[in-house]
């Protein structure tokens, strides 16, 4: 007998970050601390038809990380050695072999690392399918229920959603919040002069083009990522857009697509982009707080927040020799507040630099 679950979703399950992301499903490149979880997820992904009744277009197409320099290649080699305990089956591919296999990649790629068992899926199908499966398994899924308040009186956890303002609901179980940035909480300092804005990955989908690529592509050190789905559409992304004010996940303001290898892959078939969107960066999940009294558990990653002062550049960076500006101070303050509210992420491992934040975390 499992736990009784009530799932509250402010919108529709899978309509936000879990349904609007790149759709890469990979283990390669993840920090070692994440690999046990990623391995477990990998097994679950293999059972999607049995668990969800749909494969969500999941295929183990292979994930290829491109090295653009010898140092990138060395970094990939190092990662392979460090992750050898996890049996990822990483295979380093030389420049010569790459030229034969993917001539369209151009000459800048000096090689790369292939994880044949990693793959890709369609997040807009998978995420709602998980919600439906949960419902079939007995979970109470309440969509369009924005949670305004969560409290615990010692015996019961209660929440208050906008639609249930008069009838607070209670449950005996601890609550688990999986809200993500820019979710309903936490709020940054409520100064009228500053606005919160989150940097988010920018992606696009092209019209279908003749099939030319099996692998899901990434670049060592980050940059662009690209995959081609069975219908022929390219899904590609790279760079970040800014979310201004209210969440505008589907209203990108900036597009910096199709640079480098992505541009080359795209130019291969000269398609038209018709469907760009902003996804969500996903940081490391925060660790639940332990304590005698049940608390709401926040599974939210520490959001990558930037504060933007009026008239300041989009990306306030500390200049050499410059003192701490107000914006900088506010930014630090906000991060401190957020950390206190959302709990610290796991300590960085010394290999952390090998990973790049990517929206392609399996959901």
């Amino acid at each position: 007998m499992g736990a009784g679950v009530v799932l509250l979703e402010r919108d529709l399950c899978g309509s936000r970050s879990s349904g609007v992301n790149f759709g890469g499903v990979r283990r390669q490149g993840r920090p070692l601390s994440q690999l046990p979880l990623a391995q477990r997820a990998h097994r679950i992904w293999g059972q999607l038809p049995e668990l969800l009744g749909t494969d969500g277009e999941y295929i183990r197409s292979g994930h290829f990380k491109i090295a653009r320099s010898e140092s990138d290649m060395a970094s990939l080699e190092r990662y392979r050695a460090l992750s050898s305990d996890f049996d990822l089956g990483l295979e380093l591919i030389s420049a010569a072999r790459l030229r034969t296999q993917c001539p369209w990649l151009g000459t800048r790629a000096v090689g790369g690392s292939l994880c044949l068992e990693d793959g890709q899926a369609n997040p807009r199908l998978v995420s709602p399918a998980f919600a439906l499966a949960a419902q079939r398994a007995g979970a109470q899924v309440l969509e369009r229920h924005k949670v305004d308040e969560v409290a615990h009186d010692g015996a019961f956890c209660s929440w208050c959603a906008r639609r249930m303002r008069r009838a607070r609901s209670k449950c005996r179980r601890p609550c688990c919040s999986t809200a993500r940035a820019p979710g309903p909480a936490p709020s940054p300092p409520s100064s009228a002069r500053r606005r919160r804005c989150a940097a988010q990955p920018v992606m696009a989908v092209t019209e279908p083009v003749p099939h030319f690529m099996d692998w899901s592509l990434g670049v060592e050190g980050g940059g662009i990522y690209c995959r081609q789905v069975a219908r022929g559409n390219l899904v590609l992304g790279g760079g970040t857009g800014l979310t201004l004010g209210r969440p505008r996940a589907r209203r990108p303001r900036r597009h910096r697509h199709a640079r480098g290898a992505g541009r080359r892959a795209a130019a291969h078939a000269a398609p038209c982009a018709h469907h760009p969107h902003l996804g969500r960066h996903r940081g490391l999940p925060a660790r639940p707080r332990t304590g005698a009294r049940p608390q709401p558990h926040h599974a939210r990653p520490v959001p990558r927040l930037r504060l933007r002062g009026r008239g300041l550049p989009d990306r306030p960076r500390r200049r050499r020799g410059a003192g701490r500006t107000g914006a900088r101070r506010a930014q630090r303050h906000a991060h401190r507040r957020l950390r206190h509210r959302t709990l610290r992420p796991p300590a960085r491992t010394k290999h952390h630099h090998l990973s790049v934040p990517s929206p392609a975390i399996p959901t």
Binding site: L12, G14, S15, G19, R124, L125, P128, L132, V205, T206, E207, R248, R250, R251, P252, H255, H257, A258, R259, G260, R263, A266, A267, A270, P271, C272, A273, H274, H275, P276, H277
Partner: protein, 292 residues
């Protein structure tokens, strides 16, 4: 006069003559436009083009091997009829291209006459977002004359809002003209109404979204299996409106089918969110690295 390279086989109209007669008083508010319409119908009759009113289009007949149209079939209220032809032009009224207003964050409301969600604007064309002014068919189908007048009125509002003295009498006159035209527009909708039972009769194998090849049956199945009750959810699950046209061609039809399949009024099913770029852009046209 040179003979055209083609001849019109017939004009099939879902509206009935009774609809057009009932709408005549309202349409007489714009006598010139009304006279133009009467002239066109007269021209067709004079040139022997068959006009069929009150029809229900059933299907386009075609030769699949050759990939060409061979005719059209419709129901005239009594029986099924067919007509041989080489091409078919087809449409149910017009829809507004509201994506720009959507991306600018303007508020939308359901407009019952247009059977669509349209950006909210005041009589002068001011949208809900400060500094955004709306005019023309992108804010609601009103025709070319109204687009000119609304554009002029919005320009006057923009100037006035920026402290420039404008001719207020001219602004008031434009608003009156637009108001009168709204009456004509209602008449037009009365004369050529969208068949209200269209969604109920659309066959399952009807291709609603041509970019992504999504049929009415697929949409209905998505509603039944996944419980989709909102347009963007339907899009996410079925890919309707996700293709090259981004729902400009199929969004209205899909909304009608969704509303019918879920038993909701049309305004409840929402509208497809606008996505930039509004028209497809070739990726090669992105500025190269280093360009500002």
């Amino acid at each position: 006069m040179r003979r055209p390279a083609w001849t019109v086989a017939a004009v099939l109209d879902t509206a009935r003559l009774a609809d057009q007669l009932a709408a005549t008083p309202a349409m007489l508010s714009q006598p010139a436009v009304f006279a133009k319409g009467v002239y066109y119908v007269g021209w067709l009759r004079a040139h022997g083009v068959a006009l069929h009113g009150g029809v229900r289009p059933l299907r386009v007949l075609g030769d699949e091997a050759q990939g060409r149209v061979t005719g059209v079939a419709w129901h005239d209220g009594d029986e099924e009829r067919t007509l041989a032809c080489d091409a078919v032009g087809f449409g149910y009224a017009l829809r507004s291209e509201t994506q720009l207003a959507d991306l600018l964050g303007c508020r939308f409301d359901y407009a019952p006459m247009h059977r669509a969600h349209l950006p909210v604007r005041d009589a002068a064309g001011r949208a809900s977002v400060e500094g955004v002014y709306l005019a023309g068919d992108g804010a609601g189908i009103m025709g070319a004359d109204a687009a000119e007048w609304a554009g002029e009125r919005a320009a006057l509002a923009l100037l006035a809002d920026n402290g420039v003295a404008v001719d207020t009498a001219r602004a008031a006159a434009l608003e009156r003209k637009l108001d009168r035209l709204a009456g004509f527009r209602r008449g037009l909708e009365r004369a050529f109404p969208l068949p209200r039972d269209w969604a109920a009769h659309a066959p399952d194998d009807l291709v609603v979204c041509r970019c992504e090849n999504v049929t009415a049956g697929t949409l209905r199945q998505t509603v039944a299996v996944n419980g989709a009750d909102e347009m963007n959810r339907l899009k996410a699950l079925s890919r309707v409106g996700m293709g090259r046209c981004q729902g400009r061609m199929c969004g209205v039809a899909a909304a009608e089918i969704l509303a019918h399949a879920t038993g909701q009024p049309l305004q409840q099913v929402g509208r497809l969110r606008g996505q930039a770029p509004i028209k497809p852009i070739p990726i090669g046209s992105c500025p190269p690295k280093g360009a500002s």
